[in-house]
Symmetry: C2
Subunit: 352 residues, 2 copies
């Protein structure tokens, strides 16, 4: 990798960036969670991977911390003070965790990151409460941020939440819709859903720090757009992993999304091709009978042969390139920009 000064610099490890940002954000995140009522605090700590369901501390399967890293590095890229990046990162990580806890209830997902999901561990009602507590804490964190821009930051977050809700609503509604025929979910609808469900919060992550620091609208907008492209790339990769991911790495069953009939990019793209494999895939999925393991394996093969796998990967790379273009279009701190590019590469190439 070459820095903007033209000098050769050693390539940036995305793992180092994630680690550095985690060290910066986690104390503030823990302090915020510490202020909750003990019961939602336990459930929130569990959902953040800090303890087991009994509250025994330890390093459990938490997330990679991608959103908090994007918030910290996004703030640095815009020249914002560290505090702005941390407040934004805490808020975004809390909102992300809230949405996972509630989405797992809606999707009846019993597993999350190699462990039980919150509703499976604590019950549905308590998990609803835990999510509410995380959401409220995110709002409180931004409302308490210094610098006079917290209303602007909360407007930004509220806009992202509106999109998040709309994306989740579409995702749930898509479940009941067929793969083929006039009521089938088309690629355009899929893209709008993914933009809401994933893009909005990644855009928010990159933009919040700059918004809190009062950065120029041009810079905020460029970072937000970069984040949205990253979200689209991330979702495409997630969809690929949901079919072809290594269950040992993803914690999810092989061909899981196909078994659940989830509408994903590779499958929708394959169905949209007028190819023999695409038509055979339509015949296989058409009757709307849940696939068994053999059917899912056959479907995965047909998606691949119809070009759905390659197309989704190309789509992810296209969005990653578009994210880079957004970053190159405005004046940003070069070191942070290189770190953002490292995170971008990591998002797209992870475990493929």
């Amino acid at each position: 990798m070459t820095s903007q000064t033209g000098l050769q610099v050693p390539p940036i490890s995305p793992h180092h960036v994630l680690e550095r940002c985690r060290e910066l954000v986690e104390p503030a995140l823990r302090e915020a969670v510490q202020g909750l009522h003990p019961w939602p605090r336990l459930m929130a700590s569990f959902s953040l991977g800090w303890c087991d369901a009994e509250g025994t501390p330890g390093a459990f399967a938490g997330g990679k911390g991608m959103r908090q890293a994007l918030a910290v590095v996004g703030a640095e890229a815009a020249g914002a003070p560290v505090g702005a990046g941390v407040a934004g990162a805490v808020a975004v990580e809390l909102v992300h965790t809230f949405s996972l806890v509630h989405d797992d209830i809606m999707d009846r997902d019993e597993r999350r990151r190699h462990g039980a999901s919150a509703w499976k561990a604590f019950g549905t009602g308590p998990a609803v409460l835990a999510g509410d507590a995380l959401f409220a804490l995110a709002v409180e964190t931004l409302a308490a941020a210094d610098g006079g821009q917290s209303a602007a930051a909360l407007r930004y977050l509220a806009g992202a939440l509106r999109e998040l809700v709309a994306g989740q609503a579409d995702d749930l509604l898509f479940e009941a819709r067929p793969w083929t025929g006039p009521d089938a979910v088309d690629l355009k609808e899929y893209e709008a859903m993914a933009a809401g469900k994933t893009g909005s919060l990644l855009g928010c992550a990159l933009a919040l720090g700059p918004v809190l620091a009062g950065a120029s609208p041009l810079v905020v907008d460029a970072l937000a757009r970069a984040g949205r492209h990253l979200g689209a790339a991330f979702q495409a990769v997630d969809d690929l992993l949901g079919i072809w991911g290594d269950p040992g790495a993803t914690g999810k069953p092989v061909h899981g999304d196909l078994l659940r009939g989830k509408k994903t990019l590779p499958v929708l793209t394959a169905l949209a091709t007028d190819s023999p494999a695409g038509r055979r895939l339509a015949d296989l999925l058409g009757p709307a009978v849940p696939l068994d393991a053999a059917g899912a394996r056959r479907a995965a093969g047909l998606v691949e042969r119809a070009g759905g796998r390659d197309a989704a990967l190309a789509q992810a790379r296209r969005h990653a390139a578009a994210a880079r273009e957004c970053l190159y279009g405005v004046p940003l701190a070069p070191r942070a920009t290189d770190e953002l590019l490292a995170l971008t590469g990591f998002l797209v190439e992870r475990r493929l």
Copy 2:
């Protein structure tokens, strides 16, 4: 009722105040809800009593609109512009509806105001989403409020939400705890729970308009304290209605809270008396076996004989008087203050 000018004025009808405030707030509330994704919009409209579960409009059993009225009149009392009162009222009504939708999931309440609760009508997952949408919309509404005070208002709302979550957590935890013995819920714990679950949002309702208008901390604090006392009075009356309320008016079964083993003020007060009826009540509730209809009838009689009913009513009136004292301690617009007093009386005396 005598106005602060000393002239005789006709008594203020709380129903007229509620109606006037509804007319002021509902257009803004409908406009806010209109911006949601169609599915959460339908569920939100249903939960607000605007339509049935299929979306057919009509006047269904909505709330009395007490919180929106307190927000509007609270703003007027502090001399705030109408807009501040309306934005605060919309936010508070959205948060209130969000909390009802999620609480009904947690409490497994199938009925709400003479109709199905949201989770019963739409399913648990969709109702979680509907609540999230309402919550996010409340944040968005305050974040978009004019006048430069929206961050202060959001800090206020976030604080109330933190208390709301804590109160709901305690309420859920109390369910599993016994009526008697060392682990029994005591009156002090009950009061802290009620302060969180009911007082925080009523305090917030009265304070939000003044906060948005930049009223003096003295006035904001007095209105917030008045609202908290109203919340305690309201909860005491709710507890009375949960045992002795007319099912035709409350939409809830006779002796409902006793059948569910809910920890309420009249019962806890009765148990705390060292009276024969109190001891017999302890014997009846002690074994932690759910009461049947006959047992609940007997328990209601014992609560009454031990003085729990009178004590709860006296408690409600004491808190209403304390709310009045808060209002009398600071300079407020007299007409609005009289309206607040009318609402206070209505809260305490409704259907008793």
